[in-house]
Amino acid sequence: MTIQFNDETFRGDYTFKNSGWALKRFPFPFHEDSYMYSVNMEQHKGGPAGSIYEKRFDVDEHYLSEMRDRAEVLKEDPLRCQSLPNMTLAGWDLLELIMVSKSEDYPDMFELQRKGDKWRWINKPMEIDDSFTFLDEATLPYGPMEYITRQTQGDFVVLDQRDENLWMDAGMVTTQADWSLDFDIGMNFFEWHAPVPKAHEMGIFVRALKFLLNVQQGAPARRLNWTMTVNPLLDTSPENYHKWGTQKRTVTADNIGEKQFLRVELQTFFRLPRSNALVFPIRCYLASFNDLMTVPKWGRRLHRVIRDLPEELATYKGFIDNRPMMLDYLSKFDDGKPTSNGIWPDRETEPLRD
């Protein structure tokens, strides 16, 4: 398949735009008119043709621009990508997983040739053609995890499984929703989730951990998570918070439609074979309120979800101050009609707005 790649920015002048195709496949995360945490895991085994679920590692029109943004972030702050010494083998597992998956799922864009441990990887969109020896770090320009994640959309957290827990021992984290890899690396599942309000008391993490500890080779899982961002800024890191924090105050009733973004994370979980580690890719999709309102069902639903969201969640997700303004805008798109279950737009019964 051929994708027309955008040339856009996720900082500064923010030229990011979603094409009609991108919007059509946007993972609207709410299947009902309210939201509360749940262990909403399902098998990651394909999905409707053209959807973000179809391929193991989804590639879209934002690919090249996202990789350019990642390279910028890493240049400014190399600590966004770290791997504790025990995780190098897992890094190789991840490199293999992504190379095999992408060369099979997108043969026009990616090619992998293997002769024993002599591999050749061709990434056409990024104009990369590298030959290396599998398991020999000296033959790659970066460690294996860094090498392959500099070419793959989304953040990656690699978890060591030991003592009935998962430990965040490696990661490439440049598009995070406000958490620091440098700080959290070395923590276990409950510890890195410590700041999330309400969820611990609900037992969410105990159940989620039990599920994740049992994810096996060949049987990956997935779920959606979401938050809000002002401007299509991917690097909403705590490290740079003192630089982007002020942007929240630049939202006005006039510009909220184009400046307020729903940020949805497609989280997947793959067991890695040689290391028995678990990789947790976090793929970020952005859509502005203007974009979302073109789908009548989403317009109604988003208003109701944001209106009824408990205060602690809105605070934790960082938009409590802007919530009133968001509701002023969103309420205009909520005519009170009932919404259908599930996340997909009702295209037959309700065409898109212009």
Binding site: F183, G186, A194, Y241, W244
Partner: protein
Amino acid sequence: MSNFSFPESIKSRPTYAKLEARAGKSYLFVADAEGAEAIIDLASNDKSLMFKAHVIYIPKNTGKKYTSQLEKLDINQLYIGPSYTAAQSRLKRTLESSHMGLQLFLSGTEGLIGQAQRDAMAAGIPHTAIQSEHRGSVGRRMQCVHCKGITEDVDVDPFVCSHCGLSLFVRDHYSRRLAAFQGVCIDAEEPGNIPTAVELYK
């Protein structure tokens, strides 16, 4: 007694308990200031622990108050040092030549406990096997998430990063690897709007 009862907090916030005797091949104690009280208490229950013990003690500003008491305990190896940083190379060398069966006891400020724990973990001791009892000051080691610099003995919120000068609020989110709590810019959304600092836990 200078015990402080920490309020219940998030899952990444370290918790402490009274030191207890445990079977082991050798015993290593690292303590600062009022942390010596925990060693003295433990020894009062079982003097024999001290015969196999190596104690690294940093009095800070407690002068001779505790050193004199420790000197009376028949400790096999007692080292009194001026700071954790000065004692660090000694601690690392000791850990290097230690064997499985070493019991590690930490007591005193969170900063001392955190740093010794960090260095012990690097030497191969699982953190859950390390006992730690808090005594004395509740000042924290804080890492500025922005410049990565660590500010020591923070006991007010917000505080000023001693490296980059940003005003940071104190989080309970804690990293064993860095042996520090997280500090985040308090006026990121409204630069200049910095609340008056209040003492921690008040």
